[in-house]
Amino acid sequence: MTKHQGRGIAAIEYPTGMNQNGDPSQAWIKLKMDGRVDVFAGTVDIGQGSKTIHSQIVADTLGVPMDWVTMDTSNTDSSAFCMGTFASRGTFIGGNAVRLAAEKVRGRILEIGGELLEIDPGDLEIIDGEVVAKGSPDKKIGVGDIAGAATFVKGELISGQGTALKEYATLDPETGAVTIPPHSAISYAACAAEVEVDVETGDVRVLKLTQVYDVGCAINPTMVEGQIEGGAIQGLGLGLLENCYPYYPSAEHRGGQFGSYLAPSMEDLPELECIILENPSADGPFGAKAIGEMANNAQPPAIAAAIYDAVGIWVTELPITPEKVLRALEAKAAGQPESTRDGKVVRYDEALSMSSFQAAESAVRFAV
């Protein structure tokens, strides 16, 4: 029997957005004369789906069908400002900007609808593209008719803008204390890995990853799933395969071509189980929190722990290549002291760690 199976688990918490002073995203929405909605926001969709998700947030805030909403492709010329697509801030901060803009548009639709229906705006709601009197659903007027009346009768363009901006903190120069909470919203996740380790070849195969992500509110659950699945396979790559310097850490030995950087392929795909939890954040649009960047963090430590469970070795450097597995197994068989991991504390080879710091002439020192 050369193959051994094991299971390991790791968890992550992730603070959504930049969490420092500022970090703004802005949005502008205009209502066309037929009630269709144009959204201009700077959140760049790089495949994570922010165009879809922003459109959903606008449609649901306004109460119109999603296919009435067109989000302009973000660009420097016509989009409102956005700090960027990073730090998993798109849905949380960009989404809040479009929500705030949509709330203003909604307010104006209700005001004009109230005038036309001669009903107090507070007694109206917008359902599926129609402004309807609460409690007497036959008293209603289409959002398109309201937009038309605004355009041709009132001479008004119904529009709204919104900015999501984290409050600036005042810093106490004496103590360094800040006056605002350091984080906007925290996402939590855990990953359990099941692996098979071949002690003859050092090969590790991930058989299954079970992953649980608390994202506050999955505004588009299929897209959240896409982030979790994509992150899982990136994490598998970080854990087992991906290395710019596959042999030894000097530039001459780095891979010379695309194929020498190993990224997982469809054949490496383990069984994946993704579970989405929704514990809403107080500040996110509809309670949403981050998912993007946290999605590939928990797999490597979970895989490392599973390898320990399978064959009793801790490999403390990524990626966990067959060579590192075999060397660790050899060291263990020779009775050499092994790297250990107890909770969050990693005990390095002290002399080695120190010499690498000193070699870099860094001022950083740390106590082990």
Partner: protein, 170 residues
């Protein structure tokens, strides 16, 4: 030189050793094949040559003279997407989309040869294509669904993502 792209014969001025990828993108304005690694390693430039998936970055045009080259532009006809394209949309199998053209052509060849929905067979057929975004799960789901002959009402797919955000009380 003449090469046939998606059923239309095109005259090409580039030299015979020019990679097909460059001729498609730069001379003929056929932009679905993407230039990824340009070393044969990622699959995103894949086109079909006489029904076989080929990496157009490594293929000199001299090798395709007289052959039938197909790209994503030639898949849909009369405004109707092919079943595997519809499956891609329905299953959200594209994120950034950079790998999509190559995957679609390889999947088309796999399905035209009667490929099944078996995971190992699909992985063997598509294993040489890299996708950095999706983790392959939804790509596999799309190809398997197309292999089973499932069809999709894409209007309903849009409706699926349009449904009201499940209200979370704060």
């Amino acid at each position: 030189m003449n090469i046939t792209i998606n059923g239309t014969s095109r005259i090409v001025n580039a030299g015979p050793l020019t990679p097909l990828l460059h001729v498609l993108r730069e001379e003929l304005d056929v932009l679905s094949p993407k230039a990824g690694c340009q070393q044969g390693g990622c699959g995103t430039c894949t086109v079909l040559v006489n029904g076989e998936p080929r990496r157009s970055c490594l293929l000199p045009i001299a090798a395709v003279e007289g052959a039938e080259v197909r790209t994503v532009e030639g898949l849909a006809s009369g405004g109707k997407l092919t079943p595997v394209q519809e499956a891609w949309i329905h299953h959200y199998a594209a994120q950034c989309g950079f790998c999509t053209s190559g995957f679609l052509m390889a999947a088309t060849a796999y399905l035209e040869k009667g490929g099944s929905d078996d995971h190992a067979e699909i992985a063997a057929a598509l294993g040489g294509h890299v996708c950095r975004c999706t983790g392959y799960v939804k790509i596999y789901d799309a190809v398997a669904a197309a292999a089973r002959g499932e069809s999709f009402d894409l209007a309903t797919t849009a409706a699926g993502s349009r449904t009201t955000i499940r209200g979370v009380e704060l």
